[in-house]
């Protein structure tokens, strides 16, 4: 981070990829304007940044790229408010700012030597993509045992990173279970069903495993009992929370759950940690 933690690094939009058929999700590939900034920017999968649009403000967005991917950062942004709408309308070559990396990360140390189950739903798949790319990288793959992915969206057109999913599907060092809530495509080659149901069907053991779970509240609500049934301990069910944020560094005061700031003490929490906190998120 620069000396002033509120000051964003200037970056250029190198590429914009429309991810979903409803065009509400776009991935922005960003390159640093200054080489020094790029070298200073060291992140770990699970962290996020404040994307900073001059005149429109800042938005907290998970980093979708992996630190093993050099020379750029990826952010997948859902069009919801003023700043995201503006960003969606920007062109390649445009200048924005990036402030970060912010927050904590998935428990990589603890997960070493373990099986990792990744469960994602809808557009909450960004830092999970980062995590999978990171784990599959030749330098890291041996640090983890079996890697399993369950990822679902409402329909095929709403899945993120479809090309990569198809590639992962072909690999033999990751088990991939893609699912959609429904589809009218008779040739759909993957699963149909909600994420919790597919999880129940495919995941039979929690032995020596961690689960990383990101998705809409409803998915989390119904996936949690499935994981508990297979024997996942709350300490090993890892989630990433969203909250309205401004400063991103634990100072401005709005994103707390109990005495934890989601921006600084999170966004990654284990279910065990969340169980100790007020249900106010």
């Amino acid at each position: 981070m620069p000396d002033n933690p509120y000051l964003p690094y200037p970056v250029r939009i190198q590429q914009i990829i429309t991810e979903t058929e409803d065009r509400n999700l776009k991935t922005f590939k960003l390159g640093f304007l200054n080489k020094d900034d790029e070298e200073q920017f060291k992140y770990i999968p699970g962290q996020f940044c404040e994307l900073s649009m001059a005149g429109k403000g800042e938005i907290p967005i998970g980093i979708a790229s992996s630190p093993t991917e050099k020379g750029f950062l990826l952010f997948t942004v859902n069009k919801t408010g003023v700043a995201t709408k503006y960003l969606h309308n920007m062109d390649e070559g445009g200048i924005i700012g990036v402030r970060g990396p912010l927050g904590n990360w998935f428990p990589w140390k603890e997960m070493e030597g373990k099986n990792v189950l990744v469960i994602g739903g809808g557009f909450a798949f960004t830092t999970l993509r980062s995590s999978i790319v990171y784990m599959l990288h030749p330098e890291n793959r041996n640090r983890f045992r079996d890697i399993t992915l369950v990822y679902g969206a409402r329909s095929p057109g709403l899945l993120l990173y479809r090309k990569e999913l198809a590639e992962w599907e072909k690999r033999n060092d990751i088990h991939v279970h893609i699912t959609v809530d429904a589809t009218d495509d008779p040739d759909w080659p993957y699963n149909v069903g909600f994420v919790p149901a597919v999880t129940e069907q495919k995941i039979k053991t929690s032995e020596n495993s961690y689960a990383l779970v990101c998705g809409p509240p409803i998915m989390i609500k119904f996936t949690q009992p499935v994981l508990e049934k297979v024997g996942f301990e709350p300490e090993r069910i890892i989630m990433s929370l969203e909250m309205r944020m401004k400063c991103g560094i634990g100072i401005c005061g709005r994103c707390n759950i109990g005495d934890k700031y989601v921006c600084k003490d999170g966004p990654v929490f284990s279910l065990a940690q969340l169980n100790e906190l007020p249900k106010e998120y």
Binding site: M1, D3, N4, P5, Y6, L7, P8, P10, L33, S52, M53, A54, G55, K56, G57, E58, I59, T80, G81, T84, G94, I95, I96, G97, E242, M243, R244, K246, C247, I249, G250, I251, C252, G253, R254, C255, N256, I257, G258, D259, K264, E276, L277, P278, E280, Y281
Partner: protein, 345 residues
């Protein structure tokens, strides 16, 4: 450094000397209440005030502050690049800050300057400030500073503490910075042992005069989640208007918002005081709001002050007992009663 004496008639002269080196802030009564303003006429300084209506936190943390600026003009080489404008950190003296308000700055400091991140504006302003406190010889019935690790002559956070002893002030340097300032201002006459005794008596009398006491002893051991789920919040919150008065007057409320404001091709990034009383404070872009109900917001304010802060920093509660919220809540939600509920229930 031994305690010094300033004769009241010499105070203008002392202030005049300070004015040459420092920007000097003093309490000024304007439109019916006191606020800290830049000293204009040292002969008209009036230290016979109870306290300022708003806490002096704005001296370090203005209600609205420009953080950054940028150009949106494509013709500019660095269009859209966010930059920090130069700021003024001239050495500043505040004369007459009440001990509770000085203590509050210490409580807030752990938020703005934490092990990982330092708020540069808060930190630099704090460095540039020298605080001359004025002990409270006549505390109000709503003051409860002695219950919350503070007191009418508490020294924490101050550089100099003044004791008002009739014809004289006794000046006690608390920090090296304070000692330097007294030296610079030519305050060199040692206080007599008699004056010293008077000061101690004034302090003891003031402490005794504090009639409001709040219990805090059980707050630490209670579980946050039990207090969060306690049954009394609906009753506490009913009358609340969700106006931000308590948070805006409070010396320990620090929450802020960040907003971009654009005028033609020039833009500023501004931070403004914000309040956990406002529904907008936690509203997600998606429309979801974890604290959509009034009772949740009222609970948040008290839980933050009396429990979360305590748990997070192990630095006592985030309240100095100044009584501002007690006096100015339009519907009489009295934090002293909430202390009792949280501590005793």
């Amino acid at each position: 450094m031994s305690d010094k004496v300033i004769k009241k008639e010499e105070l203008p002269n002392v202030l005049k000397i300070l004015k040459e080196t420092y920007e000097v802030f003093v309490p000024v009564k304007e439109k019916g209440f006191y606020r800290f303003k830049v000293l204009e006429d040292e002969n008209k300084v009036d230290l016979n005030f109870t306290n300022t209506r708003l806490s002096p936190k704005s001296l370090l943390f203005p209600q609205s502050e420009r953080m950054f600026e940028y150009s949106l003009d494509e013709a500019d080489e660095d269009a859209y690049v966010i930059k920090e404008p130069p700021k003024d950190y001239a050495p500043t003296v505040v004369v007459g800050m009440r001990p509770c308000d000085a203590k509050a700055l210490r409580l807030v400091d752990v938020n703005f300057v934490n092990p990982e991140f330092k708020d540069p504006w808060w930190a630099r302003r704090l460095e540039s400030l020298t605080l001359i406190g004025l002990g409270c010889k006549e505390p109000c019935s709503t003051c409860f500073c002695t219950s919350v690790n503070c007191g009418p002559f508490n020294e924490e956070g101050l550089d100099v503490l003044l004791f008002d002893l009739g014809k004289n002030y006794m000046a006690r340097a608390i920090t090296e910075k304070g000692a330097q300032l007294l030296k610079l201002a030519g305050v060199s006459e040692d206080a007599t042992s008699d004056l010293n005794k008077q000061a101690e008596e004034s302090k003891a009398k003031a402490e005794k005069q504090i009639i409001s006491h709040v219990p805090t002893d059980k707050l630490k051991e209670k579980k946050a989640i039990d207090l969060f789920d306690a049954s009394f919040w609906d009753e506490v919150a009913f009358a609340c208007l969700n106006c931000g008065t308590c948070t805006f007057l409070c010396p320990t409320c620090w929450c802020f918002d960040i907003q971009d404001e654009v005028n033609k091709k020039k833009g500023d990034r501004i931070r403004n005081w914000d309040s956990c009383m406002f529904p907008l404070f936690t509203l997600h872009a998606s429309g979801h709001n974890p604290r959509s109900e009034k009772v949740q917001r009222v609970r948040q304010r008290f839980m933050h002050k009396l429990k979360y802060y305590l748990d997070k920093y192990d630095n006592g509660v985030a309240c100095v007992g100044c009584g501002r919220c007690v006096n100015y809540c339009p519907v009489n939600i009295d934090i002293r009663e909430v202390f009792k509920l949280m501590n005793e229930t």
